[in-house]
């Protein structure tokens, strides 16, 4: 009997211990619950206390003592005696606050998620490997290692991250490691390169070659050209139109044009792409236009808004360098920031640097393809993908051609396998320094010469680098490695069996679009075309006109600019698209009589000032009306779009059609017998919009802020770690481009007087720990349109900053 009792209790103990120690027992979605609830090991250990103090760390790896002052917002101000110690400390504090984010970003980009999340994410991993993200990072990492400067900084940063990881006990792991039940692995320089490639994937991997080829095939050349002009005649390019080019295009290959590959519709579903128009704004105003007589530089990069935030604020200080700004967790240096002499910032360049080539296989084995009449063998790349819960890893085989990896594959269909030519795959050419070096020289920069020199190291993803200096210069360069293309090259899928379809080299860095101290007194970019059509090199891509046109219009009118004016412009919710489209829509309503709720809606819209304010109803009504018009007008697209990706005209083109060609057959509705014009489309769309919203007008919750429903989501999609609704105005076409999941991920304003004055804010917090008071503490400030002063401390005792915690590393 006693034996029985003992065995029963022992068996209960063993099974409960086992159950509470297992990850996802019996396929239940639970982490190990015993481990998670133990206050010595689990989530309670991540309940971070916020009281301060002085902490001394003894770490191998620093040569001289390093002081780190964390200010009231937990921004580290690092004071080191040399570069190695500085970047070591940057790696250390970044890992301290963002270790899981660093890990998951690298896994997601390089296709290592299945190793922690199991077979459900295997397809995603396979696609990342096939797209060559890991291969691209390996190429970049090899090149970075050849630069003494990049290598030194990268190694110090890596050592700092690892010094932090090494002293962690499992109880200290970030909460996400505990929930997913895995351990942090050592950081490597390859992982930093993968992080750069994750930015390339977000910013320069968009393409519409398949959708364009299909549209061309479906509608024919004439209609295609009519609906898809490359330039908006109203555009206001980044480089002012009066800038003259003193060069012709470099020599191109003389052979006849390859031309688009036509003859088949491409049925592949374009793989998931980052959001269209991940936009950004930056500008610099010359002293002649400012109240203080000194330049002011502004930047707000619009990215996916996540928790933890994509940005980590930091000050880096040595006797030779003193810089403040935001860094990317995973890479050393300040990416957008300023020092005592200059300030810089970036927006994305929309040039298309990802093209598709149809592979002409020699036979069904797909081991060789035709190129200029000769057989070429593919190179097979093997990627090993570990899968959690499975003993055998998956081996993904990718066929590499001269163009790049074959990503779109269709079994048994001729002419449907497509190879990807992407600039971010290229191994960078031999240079003294690369991306890391670029930011290092910007952090140390004193004047325009330093700025232009720093930019030479930077290849990808191409960025519009804005610049202003205390010396009074302002500049903007469309900077990066940009392919030389023949007209329309890369607009459509191209034949992959002729080498003259390849890019004709790269635009020499001296000839990329740039402008220094233009007569108009400001430089600015907001993802629009880089230049007017007279730029000697052909380029195409995804460009966004409205923000750029509006910002240039506003800056052009401003005089005696003060910091408050710049804040107001960053926070401006005015949509030029609405300003141009709404009168056209309203005009079509004049000929019909409306009553009741419909006339109430019309009055609301007539009184609207085109500002997407949070508490306004008009933006909801206009957006719906406009998109219903678009859908009705392009009803011809409905059927083909069910079978394939097919390009839709851009909004600006649609608006110009409404204005200039209201009787174009495009407006004829397919479902009706009669022949409709634009006004009929607009009236029908209005009825649909009114039907959807007329009963909600009295609802106090029916407004733009609630309708838009901006939320900042957790990076690992753990909803409990998301923000609540962030009630804000703004829209993609306004300078304050707050969308439901994207928006100004960092707002910065710097005046370059004798004493640099700077302001900034990002929505989130310095800590990546959901259990920290610094996880989401700045969201409200950001949503309200307020800024924090940014203090470039002169020394660790600078009394403008109240230290929260001070670290000494020795």
């Amino acid at each position: 009997m006693r034996l029985f009792k003992f065995l029963v209790v022992a068996a209960i103990s063993a099974s409960l211990l086992f159950l509470c120690h297992s990850h996802q027992p019996f396929s239940l979605p639970f982490p190990p619950l015993g481990k998670l609830f133990s206050p010595f090991d689990g989530f309670w250990q991540n309940a971070e206390k916020t009281n301060g103090g002085e902490i001394t760390l003894d770490l191998e790896g620093v040569k001289d003592p390093v002081r780190i002052v964390f200010d009231e917002r937990m921004v580290p101000h690092i004071f080191a005696q040399n570069d190695e110690d500085l970047f070591f400390a940057q790696g250390y504090v970044t890992a301290m606050h963002r270790l899981w984010q660093m890990d998951i970003s690298v896994r997601a980009t390089s296709g290592h998620l299945a190793a922690i999340m199991g077979p459900s994410v295997l397809e995603r991993d396979k696609l990342q490997r096939k797209k060559g993200l890991l291969m691209a990072a390996e190429n970049a990492s090899e090149a970075f290692a050849t630069s003494a400067l990049d290598d030194k900084i990268g190694d110090a940063y890596t050592a700092g991250v690892n010094a932090y990881i090494e002293q962690l006990s499992p109880a200290d792991y970030p909460i996400e490691f505990k929930l997913l039940n895995y351990e942090p692995e050592p950081w490597t320089s390859l992982k930093s390169a993968i992080f750069f490639k994750s930015m390339a994937e977000s910013l320069c991997a968009r393409h519409r070659d398949l959708a364009s080829s299909n549209a061309l095939e479906q509608w024919g050349r004439e209609t295609f050209d009519f609906l898809f002009p490359e330039y908006n005649p109203k555009q206001s390019p980044i480089i002012p139109a009066d800038v003259e080019w003193d060069f012709g295009p470099a020599a191109m290959s003389e052979s006849e044009e390859g031309g688009p590959a036509i003859g088949a519709l491409y049925k592949h579903k374009t793989f998931p792409l980052p959001s269209e128009f991940l936009g950004s704004n930056n500008w610099a105003v010359a002293g002649a236009k400012t109240a203080g007589g000194v330049p002011i530089l502004c930047n707000d990069p619009h990215l996916q808004l996540t928790l933890p935030s994509i940005w980590f604020e930091i000050q880096l200080h040595t006797p030779e360098l003193n810089s403040y700004g935001v860094s990317l967790p995973g890479t050393p240096g300040v990416i957008i920031g300023f020092n005592e002499h200059i300030a810089w910032g970036q927006t994305n360049v929309g040039h298309d640097v990802l093209d598709w080539y149809e592979i002409d296989w020699v036979d069904e084995k797909k081991e060789a393809y035709w190129m200029d009449g000769k057989e070429k063998a593919v190179v097979l790349r093997q990627d090993t993908i570990e899968i959690r819960g499975q003993k055998e890893p998956h081996i993904e085989i990718t066929r590499l051609t001269e163009w790049g990896p074959v990503v779109y594959e269709a079994d048994g269909e001729a002419y449907q396998d497509l190879a990807m030519r992407w600039i971010a795959h290229d191994k960078p050419g031999k240079k003294d320094f690369y991306e890391v070096g670029t930011f290092y020289y910007l952090m140390k920069g004193k004047n325009k010469a330093d700025y232009f020199k720093a930019l030479t190291g930077y290849d990808s993803p191409a960025q519009n680098f804005v610049f202003a200096s205390q010396e009074g210069d302002i500049a903007l360069q469309v900077n990066g490695k940009l392919p030389i293309k023949k007209a329309e090259q890369g607009r459509f899928v191209q034949a992959g069996n002729r080498s003259d379809n390849a890019w004709s080299g790269f635009i020499p860095r001296e000839e990329v679009p740039k402008v220094l101290n233009p007569t108009r007194g400001f430089v600015s970019s907001a993802n629009q075309h880089s230049t007017s059509p007279d730029y000697p090199y052909y380029y195409l891509g995804g460009f966004d006109d409205y923000r750029g046109r509006f910002i240039n219009e506003q800056l052009g009118q401003m005089e005696n600019v003060e910091v408050q004016d710049m804040m107001a412009l960053q926070l401006n919710n005015h949509s030029l698209k609405a300003r141009e489209a709404l009168p056209l829509l309203l005009g079509a309503m004049d000929s019909i009589s409306v009553s009741g709720k419909s006339s109430e809606i019309l009055d609301l819209l007539r009184a609207w000032d085109f500002a997407y304010e949070a508490n306004s109803q008009a933006p909801v009504l206009f957006d719906k009306w406009f998109s219903e018009c678009f859908v009705l007008a392009f009803d011809e697209w409905k059927e083909p779009s069910e079978k394939m990706d097919i390009l839709y005209p851009e909004a600006w083109r649609f608006i110009s059609l409404l204005e200039e060609n209201p009787d174009h057959p495009i407006f004829d509705l397919q479902e009706t017998e009669g022949v409709e014009q634009a006004s009929a489309v607009i009236q029908q769309a209005f009825a649909k919009m009114a039907e959807a919203y007329q009963d909600q007008l009295e609802d106090p919750k029916f407004d733009w802020g609630n309708h838009k429903g901006t939320k900042i989501g957790h990076l690992g999609r753990i909803q409990a770690f998301d923000s609540d609704l962030v009630y804000t105005g703004g829209t993609g076409d306004a300078p304050n481009a707050i969308k439901p999941r994207h928006g100004p991920s960092w707002r910065m304003i710097v005046t370059l007087g004798e004493e640099v004055e700077a302001f900034g804010v990002f929505p989130g917090g310095q800590s990546g720990n959901p259990g920290s008071a610094f996880y989401d503490n700045t969201i409200e400030t950001w949503a309200k349109g307020e800024y924090y002063p940014l203090y470039l401390m002169k020394d660790p005792n600078d009394d403008r900053v109240k230290p929260l915690i001070t670290y000494t590393i020795q």
């Binding site: 009792k5 309670w44 971070e48 008071a773």
Partner: protein, 124 residues
């Protein structure tokens, strides 16, 4: 009084073992305390383990939650379908008590087993 001392011992030993062992340290603490418990009945052995484990886990979690201002608890509460910090603390105490109690009970019955075997051996 002696019972109280045993609970305190359970708490102290648990806190100590948690410095070196994974989360199941509380069960091990129960084992050790169960072995030195006088053989006065399974209920008492179980109660000492439950109380010691619950107070240690619940109390420590309470303190961590307090100095965190409840930030983490509200996030984890949301993760478990909107539980309050109090519920999480109770759950934590329950887990600590359960494994502490299972530890003492295991040791208690083990000891009893050992005693009987000894007695049986001596009879031969």
């Amino acid at each position: 009084m002696r019972n109280l001392a045993l609970v305190v011992l359970m708490i102290a030993l648990g806190a100590l073992l948690h410095q070196f062992l994974p989360w199941w340290a509380i069960w091990c603490a129960g084992l050790v305390v169960g072995l030195i418990l006088p053989t006065e009945g399974a209920v008492k052995a179980f109660a000492v383990g439950i109380l010691g484990g619950a107070i240690l886990w619940g109390g420590y979690a309470f303190w961590l939650n307090l100095q965190n201002g409840g930030v983490m608890a509200s996030r984890i509460g949301a993760l478990f379908g909107g539980q309050s910090a109090t519920t999480l603390l109770l759950l934590t105490a329950l887990f600590g008590g359960l494994f502490g109690g299972l530890g003492t009970l295991c040791a208690y019955f083990g000891k009893m087993l050992f005693h009987r075997n000894l007695a049986a051996d001596s009879l031969k």
